[in-house]
């Protein structure tokens, strides 16, 4: 067991050192789309290694690699809410060897960064959705309200004193917080943190009142009872959190948001290549290991008909419209 692990480990070690060798594992190009893939594929993750998006990516790369018969090398290109990575992929060679993983941030970027040097809908082809991570509304353990309705009433009454944490401007938890305030019809003091970790630490420590964040970040604290949970933000209840009502059931129908993830390639990529990637993605999403591990994170792979370019494009376009309305007035400039 240990030996086979190690052998595979050493193989991946080579992959991990690819950036060091400066021989980027990809970018060969020029080949016939019918022969794709002949070389390792680089998957660009716009956020830090070890974060939720990175974890989701790494979960699906292994079965995808098996399906495609080449290595998928994950590269973390951080910066400016994921726009640095997206900008880089938009300009990459359209040969299918550079793939972008991005989440809901792709649809908020045009609003949050008005001087963006790429257009999410024009500069990319969608490959398919991967997962829609639910979000949860949680509070410090000793916060007074016990249901989402009570929370809305309490927040309205105490709008001057309550504090709402988020994981940084433009983060999913920030988006959810903005939507939640609109749904509740109040404005409260927002307190941005440098990522979910510090925000959660202050919430568990009782320094800040409440927070909306992805199940990937909150499930564990909820099940341990170190925070109080009110609702999930999905239309359907979440299997791994059976005690939590949906926001709609709990009286806030407008609070519907998921952190959807999808794969993108540069716009000029041949359809034949996109099809191969889509089919590998669909296979990966049916992998039992992927399903189990996503369940541990409080999420699930999307249905097969969602892991398609069309479903992905449709959602992207709808979300761009939605967020440009919700976020008008809180641009980065």
């Amino acid at each position: 067991m240990a030996t086979s692990g190690r052998r595979a480990g050493l193989l991946r070690f080579g992959a991990a050192l690819a950036p060091l060798s400066l021989l980027a594992a990809c970018g060969g190009g020029g080949g016939d789309p019918a022969d794709y893939p002949e070389d390792n594929i680089e998957i660009i993750v716009p956020f830090a290694a070890g974060g939720p998006t990175d974890t989701v990516t790494r979960l699906i790369t292994e079965p995808m690699a098996e399906e495609l018969g080449v290595e998928l090398v994950v590269q973390n290109v951080e910066g400016a809410g994921g726009t640095v990575a997206a900008g880089q992929v938009a300009e990459a060679e359209a040969d299918g060897y550079t793939v972008l993983m991005h989440h809901i941030g792709m649809s908020t970027a045009p609003t949050l960064y008005p001087d963006l040097d790429f257009a999410p809908e024009e500069d990319f082809k969608t490959v398919g959705l991967v997962t829609e991570v639910p979000m949860t509304v949680i509070a410090r353990k000793d916060f007074e309200p016990t249901t989402l309705e009570e929370l809305a009433a309490y927040v309205e009454e105490n709008a001057d004193t309550v504090t709402l944490a988020n994981a940084g401007i433009g983060s999913a938890s920030h988006l959810c917080g903005v939507l939640m305030q609109q749904a509740m019809g109040v404005e409260v003091q927002e307190v941005p943190y440098d990522g979910t970790g510090p925000a959660m630490e202050d919430l568990v420590g009782g320094q800040v009142d409440f927070l909306c964040d992805q199940t990937t970040n909150t499930s564990q604290q909820i099940s341990e009872g170190t925070v109080k949970a009110y609702a999930v933000t999905t239309p359907e209840p979440v299997e791994s959190l059976p005690d939590l009502p949906t926001a709609a059931e709990a009286g806030l129908p407008d609070l519907e948001v998921t952190v959807w993830h999808g794969l993108y390639v540069p716009a000029e990529t041949p359809d034949e290549i996109v099809e191969k990637l889509t089919s590998a993605l669909q296979t990966a999403l049916q992998d039992q290991g992927v399903i189990d591990q996503m369940a541990d994170l409080g999420t699930a792979p999307v249905a097969q008909d969602q892991a398609t370019p069309d479903a992905h494009s449709e959602l992207l376009s709808a979300e761009i419209d939605k967020w440009s309305e919700v976020l008008s007035g809180i641009q980065a400039e």
Binding site: M1, A48, D160
Partner: protein
């Protein structure tokens, strides 16, 4: 007796031959990548993380990762000492005296002091982790932004009073560092600051670019500028092992560094960043011979290295007990846990005792392996200094550039190295030290972030810093430190000291 049986369980897991092997591989890999100039522990762990994803046994995977982390940390200290190239903020402190020792032909004792200090600190901090993890985690949770702001204020004031050379220039450098740190998107409003419309600057300047520039490249430029400066090193490489006198001198710093590091490591919001700076400040304060600091004092290597390693160890406490990552490396570890199908949190200790205690015990084993691996290698590392300059300097620059580029594939950070190399060279020519600049650069964001967040949480009431007891005590200490410097008698003594130095 719970503790003994827990530690017993941990040791029996960690000492299984395959786990020892994975730990050793991790330490060796971590050291090998960590010694590349400009690559610190975070970058090393991020780069090597995927190796462990394919392991079937989560314990082995996590043990190997912990090994990589310690190895990388020590590797970073090695480059800091030998070629003045710190890869992470903690080893910037090591570079101050460590590299001066190397230049005086004492690279061997500096490396040995770092390794021995790290091991002792690691041993102690492992015990702290085993005995007091849950209790400490709860204390740390009470440490909010107000407390952290006051702690950083205290740290900055201490560092001003204790700077080598001209205090005025040190203040100027700290302020410059703080200002450089404000470049980028404002975390609280998203407004870009000093970015000149460049998207590359939205996330601010990269620590590695600044550190490699002002320390490493500036050092190379100095050596090129002044041939005599570089001739000296090679002739003097003599003793590899610390003398009896050295051992006597590092005992105290290691003990104090371990204490300082263990406490600061537990704190959320960046406590580990402060550990090595705090230890350096403490050592300089208690030293009978503070003038030797900055000129190759072995205490200035042993203390901070111990503090750094102790903090690295105790920063696992919030991760293991609360499932909350305290810094980037811990966030990576969480990713590794999750990939292995384990969600870290309070229940992990009960549900997977073998894993948690095995990990804790393997930290100690890892530290031991690190010493065993590195002490014999000291001779090899030191010989690196005898490589001809025509080969050494270009290789350093090339490796530093590759390392910085590998961080996030952004060529901008490589250009920034060149820019900060020139800045560093000019500063050194003007008699300004790069260390306070880096201190300001590292602590500036913490200072601003916690000040603003504390005020947001208190709805704009600045009394929050005085009504919270811990925060008030820290501020009182800071005020005291200022008064001590301002006292005329003290000032006269300081001036004498500096006159002697010039």
């Amino acid at each position: 007796m719970d503790l003994l049986s827990n530690l017993g369980l941990g040791l029996s897991t960690a000492l299984q031959w395959q786990n020892v092997l994975f730990c050793l591989i991790g330490v060796a890999l971590g050291t090998a990548v960590g010694v590349l100039p400009g690559i610190g522990p975070t970058a090393t762990v991020a780069m090597l993380l995927p190796i462990t994803f394919s392991f079937d046994d989560p314990t082995a995977a996590l043990i190997m990762l912990a090994g990589i982390y310690y190895g990388a940390q020590y590797g970073g200290s090695t480059t800091a000492i030998l070629i003045n190239l710190p890869g992470e903020s903690s080893s910037a402190v090591t570079a101050i005296d460590g590299h001066e020792m190397a230049r005086a032909g004492r690279a061997g004792p500096a490396l040995a002091a770092a390794a021995i200090g790290s091991f002792i600190a690691g041993t102690f901090a492992t015990l702290v982790l085993a005995v007091a993890a849950p209790a400490l985690a709860n204390v740390a949770l009470g440490f909010g932004s107000a407390e952290f702001f006051s702690l950083v204020v205290l740290g900055l004031i201490m560092s001003i009073t204790l700077a080598a050379g001209s205090p005025l220039k040190a203040v100027a450098m700290i302020v410059l560092g703080v200002l450089l740190a404000t470049v980028g998107q404002d975390q609280f409003t998203g407004t870009p600051r000093f970015t000149f419309g460049e998207r590359e600057l939205y996330d601010g300047l990269n620590f590695v670019s600044v550190a490699v520039g002002v320390f490493g490249v500036a050092e190379i430029l100095r050596n090129l500028h002044d041939p005599e400066r570089r001739e000296k090193i090679v002739e003097k490489v003599t003793n590899l092992w610390p003398s009896r006198e050295d051992f006597r001198r590092i005992a105290g710093p290691i003990a104090r560094g371990t204490g300082v590091g263990s406490v600061l490591g537990v704190l959320p919001g960046g406590g580990h960043v402060l550990a090595s700076y705090a230890s350096y400040a403490v050592e300089k304060k208690v030293s009978n011979n503070p003038r030797s600091f900055g000129r190759g004092a072995i205490e200035g290597v042993a203390g901070p290295e111990s503090a750094n390693n102790a903090a690295a160890q105790t920063s696992f406490i919030p991760l293991l007990t609360l499932g909350i990552p305290a810094h980037p490396v811990m966030a990576l570890m969480i990713g590794a846990f999750i990939i292995q199908g384990i969600v870290p949190g309070p229940a992990v200790m009960e549900r997977e005792p073998e894993l948690v205690w095995g990990l804790i015990a393997s930290m100690w084993v890892g530290n031991l392996l690190l010493v065993l691996l590195n002490l014999p290698l000291i001779g090899l590392w030191v010989r690196m200094l005898t490589v001809p300059y025509a080969v050494l300097f270009p290789s350093i620059v090339v490796f530093a550039s590759i390392g910085t580029y590998a961080l996030d594939q952004n060529p901008f950070h490589v250009l920034a190295i060149a820019f900060f190399g020139l800045v560093g060279f000019v500063l050194v020519r003007c008699g300004c030290e790069p260390a306070p600049l880096l201190l300001g650069f590292v602590l500036g964001p913490l200072l601003e972030q916690h000040l603003r967040r504390a005020l947001l949480l208190s709805h704009g009431d600045p009394m929050t810093f005085l009504t919270r007891p811990v925060s008030a005590s820290l501020l009182a200490l800071a005020a005291l430190a200022l008064i001590v410097v301002a006292l005329p008698a003290v000032r006269r003594k300081r001036e004498e000291v500096f006159v002697e130095e010039e």
